[in-house]
């Protein structure tokens, strides 16, 4: 009986801990937004972070997009053939990528490549007392270190998701038209008829912006909060990837439901 009570207490503790963390995250976001004007005055800091988060993620995003698009094309063709609806392949590939896979897979890749790097960087700066040094020099580390990385993530994510989708569609075209032999006109024509800027593409962009904000916030928070030791930094990095991934999938569900209901016609 006491074992059960102990387990329940542990579970309750985890839940309340999680809720408290959510509140802390909200306050942290508030602090970031508060110091954003200060960070914008040093635009080159944000530009630099866009380079490290966005540009350096291009390789993995583009390659993954290409492969996902190609696989989607193959699998989609397989299924559509049963209903003699191969011509719809273009729509299937495009909608899957633009509405879901681009933002979600792009977000997961961004979290594991850029998110973990951000956490490690900030955590290391904390461990080597660089953040303290900044504080003692009367420079707020949130304005100078945290906010630029946050906004770089928010800006980079939609661009990366769009590139993922674009390359995926290109990969789908390569497999569908060049390899399998579907008519190019049907491929692009059906796609253009079926994919609407509003709501399909804009919903995808909204999702990628939300995911970018979530991943960036989690990454900077874990880094800023990390224990200033080697294990502290490494466990914070792992936590960033895990929590970001879960957050992306959960937010994806919430956003999809919201968008589905809102547009259902």
């Amino acid at each position: 009986m006491s074992d059960l009570a102990l387990a329940l207490r542990r579970l309750g503790g985890t839940v309340t801990g999680g809720v408290a963390r959510l509140g802390y995250m909200a306050r942290f976001l508030g602090a970031i937004l508060w110091y954003t004007p200060m960070a914008l005055r040093r635009l080159h800091l944000t530009v630099r972070e866009i380079y490290f988060s966005g540009v350096l993620s291009l390789v993995i995003i583009l390659m993954s997009g290409l492969f996902v698009g190609m696989v989607l094309s193959l699998q989609g063709y397989e299924v559509l053939r049963r209903y003699s609806a191969q011509e719809q392949l273009g729509i299937v590939v495009a909608l899957s990528l633009v509405k879901e896979l681009g933002p979600v897979i792009g977000g997961l890749l961004f979290a594991s490549r850029a998110g973990s790097a951000i956490t490690a960087e900030i955590g290391l700066m904390k461990a080597t007392e660089q953040l303290s040094a900044m504080e003692m020099m009367a420079v707020d580390p949130i304005a100078r270190v945290v906010a630029p990385r946050f906004w770089a993530g928010v800006i980079s994510m939609p661009l990366l998701a769009a590139l993922f989708s674009a390359f995926g569609i290109f990969g789908g075209y390569l497999i569908g038209v060049r390899v399998i032999g579907i008519d190019a006109g049907a491929f692009w024509g059906q796609m253009q008829a079926g994919v609407k800027v509003w709501p399909d593409i804009t919903n995808g962009i909204i999702k990628s912006i939300v995911f970018g904000a979530a991943v960036s916030l989690i990454a900077v928070l874990e880094g800023y909060d990390a224990k200033p030791t080697a294990e502290g930094v490494s466990s914070a990095t792992t936590r960033t990837v895990v929590v970001s991934s879960l957050a992306i999938l959960a937010l994806d569900f919430v956003l999809t439901v919201f968008m589905f209901r809102g547009v259902g016609l």
Binding site: R48, Y51, L159, A162, L163, A166, K196, V197, I201
Partner: protein, 156 residues
Amino acid sequence: MNRAAIDLWVGVFVAVGLGAILFLALKVGNLLTLDQTPSYHVEASFDNIGGLKVRSPVKAAGVVVGRVESIRLDPKTYAAMVTMRIDRDYSFSKDTIASINTSGLLGEVYVGLDAGGDAAMLNDGDRIAKTQSAVVIEKLISQFLFDKAAQGGAGK
């Protein structure tokens, strides 16, 4: 990495990213379709529009020449009033037949235009006289059964 190089790469990245979004919007989606091209309106009345929706295509000989702009129910005749917007590049004779078709068995519903031989052309605001409603599968089946029943009865 000096600042100039970083700025350059970030500029390229943002440009390419925005380009991808534009690509998706234009080539993949249908941002710049006939909505921008000059067009004129034509009306048609149908007993049953089936699965026709606003923004469904209007095709002639399989080529998209316009879009359905609005669908209303005429309160007097209880028929569906469909307003179509047609690309100005295409003119249709006054005796054009408008029919509601489905591309393939399960495909999308569209308005098909069969041009006639009349020398006079449809103008903005004109109404198409001859229309053919959508084939509703259930009615077809019940018609078939009814015919079958009538045959059987007549044969006795």
